[in-house]
Symmetry: D2
Amino acid sequence: MVGVVGSGSEDPALNALAEEVGRLIAEAGVTLVNGGLCGVMAASAKGANRAGGTVVGLLPGDDPLAANPHVNVVLPTGLGEARNLLIVRAASVVIAIGGGYGTLSEVALALKLGRPVIGLGTWEVSEDIIKAASAMDAVKRALELLSVQE
Amino acid sequence: MVGVVGSGSEDPALNALAEEVGRLIAEAGVTLVNGGLCGVMAASAKGANRAGGTVVGLLPGDDPLAANPHVNVVLPTGLGEARNLLIVRAASVVIAIGGGYGTLSEVALALKLGRPVIGLGTWEVSEDIIKAASAMDAVKRALELLSVQE
Amino acid sequence: MVGVVGSGSEDPALNALAEEVGRLIAEAGVTLVNGGLCGVMAASAKGANRAGGTVVGLLPGDDPLAANPHVNVVLPTGLGEARNLLIVRAASVVIAIGGGYGTLSEVALALKLGRPVIGLGTWEVSEDIIKAASAMDAVKRALELLSVQE
Amino acid sequence: MVGVVGSGSEDPALNALAEEVGRLIAEAGVTLVNGGLCGVMAASAKGANRAGGTVVGLLPGDDPLAANPHVNVVLPTGLGEARNLLIVRAASVVIAIGGGYGTLSEVALALKLGRPVIGLGTWEVSEDIIKAASAMDAVKRALELLSVQE
């Protein structure tokens, strides 16, 4: 699985990037996992879902109805922000798009657990984050990293 | 989603029950969620998977390779037995088949959270557990409860 | 540490038992860990606190003010019922007093993790639960089990 | 409670800072919560413990013996890195000293949850982190923030 983490607020430019990332992941036949809510989470889910892909949404709360409508597998964890770690654990590679402190925690946890992190307009806190030039570049790198792991 | 909880050890009679339960859930077009390991978890996943269904496996450890081969969506939670609660939260109805103390904890958490529990040869600790006579009876009741919730 | 689990509703007889259990644990110089809320949790904390003991309260929510006033160390976990597992993991021995499905989940998780469980008017679901005749008997057995572990 | 987060590896200069921070927190009569292991965690615990303070250690694993010897209240969470969030939730103010990606995740989660973060030679990823000039300066600011919250 590829994880997509990013802002929960609505930014048209980031959402467009996220939707393209989701679409390309699904077209590669890979499952997408994210936090199941709004913003980058909903946009990447929408892109993947429309391309026929599978989207797993790990919600912080315990209400499955809080998920955006593009998630296929809804998991209301009830663990609050501790669900950020579950996204990172489930993903073999993480793509970070924009984002605030929640996204920063996911990037940090991914780096801590040794998951490769690909960044698109996100936190630049470490040289370990692979900077991507576009949605297509980000997904291309993620797929290369997935194939190396297998 | 319907959750299937039960023994992680291998009991041929319980495994046969679990496999039939998994198959019937998948044939109804419903996603199955369980703990992703052996025994009842693997057997119900096998039944669902062979019938073309989707199986979500929430593992206690952090190694995705610990999942049985019939799980489609592998989530290594790294939370230990705390993953039992996630199974119950993700499921709208829980079917319990045999099982030891881990299963008892799942039954108790399900009842605590108000999830209906259907029992097949499992702990008889409460009149709130709906006793099923067979795999078919268990799934029939689970599907009825799902349709009421919608 | 000794864990005390039990009903969150107010039952005068159970609360009296719980308060005595808390007092005796503190008088033995042992720290008490529980769920930090009402009923058996508050009563056992009160007994321990008044006897000069230390009480650790693991809350399900994220508001520290939800703790009863007798807890010395308040930990708002924000993990919901997953905090039940943390109580059991923190305790070397668990005393269960009365209780509903939440308590049953704690008893089951304790037995699953190999923690001895001493019962006072609680779920009788396994011969592995040591039945105590009184608060004093329960704490005496808990202290014996603690000293064996050291 | 004040949380102290930081590197788990042994750096003499950071450890000296951490030990002084721990001592000053304890001398102010405030409880310290940290991750219970090595490096900054052990040094801050040592400083607090020697000054007669209380130290709560939230361990990632399930073995209480993994705690450093200066922790008074050992909580083996078994939740892996998800325990980072529990430290931040338990603390009203967080002091970050040095540290790697684990510390960065704790800083990010603290900022996400609205906990003030005071930094001593740590990640400089946000203007929301209050830079302290010394151990004494860090604790002075932490205590001021605590008194404002009350």
